[in-house]
């Protein structure tokens, strides 16, 4: 009731002001309020506020009037310099490693070959010793195994901060991808052979002095692994049955950085590695692309398997 009155009053007020201006009087003289209102000015419709003329201004202008500070958008991509992006000059594990017993002739030959490390590895170890005077190759292998065990325990409990301190930024997403809605149970049973440093490289990135040290450690151990899916059902492995695992770990450190630490950088999987156990699930493999006239020969169809090459993870 007050609104229509006010509106008509305003209109009257403006009309009188205009007439007053024409009459050359500068003072605001207010005419008395009329006792009755004309009925035709009553509002008879209702337009919901959602349908009325909306603000046609852009989002930025509205934010400015609302005094909201819009953060500047950076079209940048973060890069990490505390670790390298891969494994340089990867170690190629000799075929049949840990298959032949030490007592046979081939086993002895393998052992002697392994004892003699290549010259580049020796150079790399010398460079590492320059930057870290307390570095001893023999002790380092045991330390590497400790790092490995701690990192995997942190992965099983999913302790993010601890995992980041034990594992490089390149290795972290590879370790944790797809694990968020799964439960992992991992235990280290025992070590079958003492760990050994088999390979060393010291690549320098971008500038000449920016050294990173990468050491490959060979580990033969017994571990148990069991992965459960979101509903607590077993996906892979078993908790009781341990497995013998031969692994080639790559540990990296940013040598020039005084706060750099030796962290797990990746693993090397040789081309002759045995196939992993299948998961406890039947999976549909997409069939070949056939033309409408072709027939699918299920008996002679070979399931495509990946080729056996060395890859590092």
């Amino acid at each position: 009731m007050a609104m229509p009155m006010r509106r008509t009053l305003l209109v009257l007020h403006q009309a009188t002001l205009r007439s007053l201006k024409n009459a050359e009087t500068s003072l605001d003289v207010r005419y008395p309020v009329p006792l009755f209102l004309p009925v035709r000015t009553k509002k008879r419709y209702f337009i919901p506020p959602a349908v009325r003329m909306k603000d046609r201004r852009s989002l930025e202008d509205k934010a400015k009037t609302a005094a909201l500070a819009y953060r500047q958008q950076y079209f940048e991509r973060p890069i990490n310099i505390s670790c390298t992006a891969g494994i340089f000059d990867a170690y190629v594990p000799p075929e049949g490693d840990a298959r032949l017993s030490t007592l046979s002739k081939e086993g002895l030959k393998q052992r002697t070959e392994q004892m003699r490390q290549s010259a580049t590895s020796q150079l790399a170890i010398r460079k590492i010793k320059e930057h870290d005077p307390h570095f001893v190759t023999k002790e380092f292998a045991a330390k590497a195994q400790e790092i490995f065990i701690e990192a995997h325990n942190a992965l099983a409990q999913f302790n993010k901060e601890k995992l980041h301190s034990l594992v490089t930024e390149r290795c972290y997403p590879e370790m944790t991808r797809g694990n968020r809605y799964k439960t992992i149970r991992w235990t280290f049973v025992e070590s079958l052979e003492p760990p050994k440093v088999v390979h060393a490289r010291c690549p320098d990135m971008v500038t000449k002095g920016n050294l990173y040290g990468q050491l490959t450690v060979r580990m033969h151990s017994k571990q148990t692994l069991a992965i459960y899916d979101r509903f607590g059902r077993l996906l892979l492995g078993s908790e009781e049955q341990p497995k013998d695992v031969l692994e080639y770990l790559v540990i990296e450190r940013h040598l020039v950085n005084p706060y750099g630490r030796w962290r797990l950088h990746g693993k090397i999987v040789p081309s002759w590695a045995p196939a992993k156990d299948p998961i406890v699930k039947t999976v549909m493999i997409p069939g070949p692309d056939l033309k409408p006239s072709d027939e699918f020969d299920a008996l002679n169809y070979k399931v495509p398997t990946p080729e056996a090459v060395q890859w590092h993870k």
Binding site: R180, F231, G232, R233
Partner: protein
């Protein structure tokens, strides 16, 4: 406006799912429960999809295998929730293959959309939720909800206006692994017998 609202909602839920890392048996994060303030309005929360994020602890060997549950939904479907309700209740309790087949040959507009949603849910189940056989699913829950309506003017004669609603609805579906449960159909004669029995079981208290 509706698009902007849903965009804000999606950003919100992404932040929430980043903070929300539930590794306990279905326990929701503490701070949200403890606060006495409404931190999220019913319009923005995507609680149905959040059910997909609960992680159960590993089962022991003697427990029966827990069936997988997949929650899926589609928001702001341009259809009436009352019209969609008929289809939703039609497929409730069916196996997924049966439901998809029935919706394929249904003439309603909502049937086509519902079929797409079911196929999406089936694919998600196989890919993300470790369901072994894609046909081994059944529709456990299926219902519709009201979406965010747009209001428009409906012009009548004599300068009269009406406010028209452009209706939108949400559709929610829950797929469970396994064969659909068999509903016991009670015969009318048995129902009548039970009724008579309840009448006969009545006792008069405080009587002589």
């Amino acid at each position: 406006m509706a698009a902007a609202a849903t965009g804000r909602g999606i950003g919100f839920i992404r932040n929430l799912s980043g903070l929300f890392h539930s590794r306990l048996s279905g326990v929701v994060g503490g701070p949200q429960q403890l606060s006495c303030l409404h931190t999220s309005t019913p319009l923005e929360t995507k609680n149905w999809e959040r059910n997909n994020l609960i992680v159960y602890p590993p089962q022991l060997a003697d427990e029966p295998r827990r069936p997988a549950e997949i929650y899926h939904s589609r928001r702001q479907i341009k259809y009436s929730k009352d019209k969609m309700w008929y289809l939703a209740k039609m497929i409730q309790g069916m196996s997924i293959d049966g439901a998809i087949a029935q919706l394929e040959f249904n003439d309603k507009k909502g049937a086509k959309i519902m079929r797409e949603v079911l196929l999406e849910a089936q694919e998600k189940a196989v890919k993300n939720h470790n369901v072994e056989y894609k046909s081994n699913l059944y529709v456990a829950e299926s219902y519709t909800g009201k979406g965010r309506y747009l209001k428009r003017l409906r012009i009548h004669g004599r300068g009269m206006f009406g406010i028209m609603d452009r209706v939108y609805c949400h559709y929610f579906v829950k797929l469970v692994e396994g064969s659909p449960p068999k509903t016991e159909e009670k015969m009318s004669f048995d129902q009548a017998k039970d009724y008579v029995q309840t009448l006969k079981n009545r006792t008069i208290i405080h009587s002589l």
